[in-house]
């Protein structure tokens, strides 16, 4: 139920924001600092987790297209995003993952956006409870808590969202569908589907991101 309330609020916020005047679209590089984001990161939606990330914008392309009566203003952003995720398979595994994402985001004049990103990373999966170790003769030699295994992770994600302004501060609400593949998992690979709902904000502190190349067409 809580999930649907969040989803409805999210859609309402985007719709209301869509009514703003598009003739004065601000730059999506809102200030000189790197945007930070936090999101709910649910494996198969319901196996809960969180994701924390920081964007480093690399390139911005701005385009103005004149159509009959309106001018269409689009902004495209190439970014790299280191992120950290944590999620659980209840009573089975806890997963920590470090990723770097390279993404391409396209904003329209109402600051609604779609994005696509590729990622590579490292996933560490921690066994719940004690792990018992068997020697080559089949005897149990001991046990330990917090045992884990590591995997190489690659992924692709598709996202959408929009920017709203609260007291003139830009807040981005977004959702993302992530498809990850872990290798070498067992004797093959493991695909994972994760749905993400998050918020990105523009702090007035932190790492500066002033070297964004901007191309205006």
């Amino acid at each position: 139920m809580r999930f649907f309330i969040v989803l409805i609020s999210f859609c309402t916020a985007l719709t209301l924001n869509g009514q703003t005047d598009s003739s004065s679209t601000p730059s999506v590089l809102f200030n000189d600092y790197s945007p930070l984001s936090a999101s709910y990161y649910g494996n198969l939606l319901f196996q809960p987790g969180i994701k924390l990330a920081m964007d480093r914008n690399l390139l911005k392309i701005e385009k103005n297209k004149v159509k009959k009566r309106k001018t269409k203003h689009t902004q495209k952003l190439l970014y790299i995003q280191p992120n950290f995720t944590f999620y659980v398979h209840p009573k089975t595994l806890a997963v920590l993952q470090l990723n770097t994402e390279l993404g391409w985001r396209r904003y329209n004049s109402r600051l609604l956006f779609t994005e696509v990103a590729l990622s590579i990373g490292y996933s560490r999966r921690f066994n719940q409870g004690e792990t018992y170790f068997s020697d080559p003769a089949g005897n149990i030699t001991g046990s330990k808590k917090g045992t884990s295994r590591g995997y190489f992770a690659t992924g692709i994600s598709l996202g959408c969202g929009g920017v709203i302004f609260i007291q003139e501060k830009p807040i981005t609400l977004y959702s993302k569908l992530n498809a990850n593949v872990l290798t070498a998992h067992n004797a093959g690979l493991l695909p994972e589907g994760i749905l993400e709902f998050g918020i990105r904000f523009q702090p007035n502190f932190g790492l500066k991101n002033t070297t964004v190349k901007t191309i205006i067409k």
Binding site: T92, Y132, Y151
Partner: protein
């Protein structure tokens, strides 16, 4: 003064009221066993304080341990005994890194032994461990029974519709399809469907059953059981049990399905050649054989095969008259009763 007595009374009442009323010997714990590159979860549930743990060896290949907790029989059994739901190598929520060549029945027997040894180490060497293998789990436990002296690590074997001999299974399944088709056609039940099965079964050369035919047997078995269920020959499973939510539960649906499919594919050729009927002579530990009369996946003929071959002096066979491949679901009460009766005299 009276007020202070009243307050004291309420405090004492509240304190004792907060005490958990659950049986403290009922456990809910997850442990892992690391063996030959695989980390396999073992979900421990039930009353371990009984000194008896039933190790559930799931079907498939490609299933998972907690699937077997969904039936009502598991509630009954967990009330009395400890139950270990083990996710085998490359199935369920098992993780690890190993080569494809390491996905073998022999390695899985080794894994099973590591799980048995872990249970004994954790709960004491006096703990009785009984293996309950169903379907593919029956193949794996049968192989365990005949490998070296491993059977003596167990206190009993419950074989439920287990596939200990695939070539023999395939032949018996075709025979069963033919005979049941004729019976059902004569009774006028689902006639066109059974006629289709009969035509298909008659076209198979039983001296040369291919892997493709093997796959078809599984599929047709499911269909046949559904018609028998419709016509009242098989009893419908009763709602209830301790179901795990596919989205919120310990077994992630996608992980379990994908890893299971990969492992099933890797084992396929080896499993198709497993033929352990003669080797079952080695089995001397107490054995209970439980089978559904209308099992087309692993036909009844294999139950008698196993029963007649094993050397155990304490052995019993029970045929469930209104069950298919999973009597623990179709006739859960009778199934749980037989399991309990077997364990109580060990």
């Amino acid at each position: 003064m009276r007020l202070s007595y009243l307050i004291t009374g309420i405090v004492i009442f509240t304190f004792f009221g907060c005490k958990k009323s659950t049986d403290l010997t009922q456990i809910e714990e997850t442990i892992y066993v690391r063996s030959n590159g695989a980390d396999m979860p073992v979900y421990l549930r039930g009353r371990v304080g009984s000194g008896i743990v039933i190790l559930v060896v799931h079907g498939g290949p490609g299933g998972n341990g907690l699937e077997y907790r969904a039936g009502k029989y598991s509630e009954e059994i967990e009330r009395k005994y400890g139950v270990a739901y083990w996710d085998q190598r490359g199935q369920g929520m098992s993780q690890g890194t190993y080569k494809k060549a390491e996905v073998t029945v022999d390695n899985m027997v080794f894994d099973m032994n590591a799980v048995v040894n872990t249970i004994k180490l954790k709960y004491g060497f006096a703990t009785k461990v009984i293996a309950l293998g169903h379907s593919w789990g029956g193949t794996l436990t049968a192989k365990y029974m005949v490998t070296d002296d491993l059977q003596y690590n167990l206190d009993g074997w419950i074989e439920a519709d287990g596939a200990h001999d695939i070539p023999r299974l395939n032949k018996a399944a075709i025979k069963k399809f033919k005979s049941e088709s004729k019976t059902q056609i004569a009774l006028g039940n689902n006639t066109s469907n059974w006629e289709g099965i009969l035509t298909w079964a008659n076209a198979i050369d039983t001296n040369n059953i291919t892997n493709e035919n093997g796959g078809e047997i599984n599929k047709k078995a499911g269909e046949a059981e559904s018609w028998l269920l419709e016509d009242g020959f098989i009893q419908a499973s009763e709602a209830g049990g301790i179901k795990n939510s596919p989205l919120f539960g310990p077994t992630n649906l996608l992980t379990s399905t994908v890893t299971g499919m990969q492992t099933s594919r890797l084992l396929y050729n080896e499993v198709e050649e497993v033929a352990l009927t003669n080797a079952l002579k080695k089995v001397t530990i107490p054995t209970l054989i439980l089978w559904g009369k209308y099992d087309f996946v692993v036909p009844l003929a294999l139950a008698y095969d196993a029963f007649n071959t094993i050397s155990s002096t304490n052995k019993k066979i029970v045929i469930f008259e209104k069950s298919g491949h999973s009597p623990m679901d179709n006739e859960w009460e009778a199934f749980a009763k037989e399991v309990t009766a077997f364990i109580e005299v060990l």
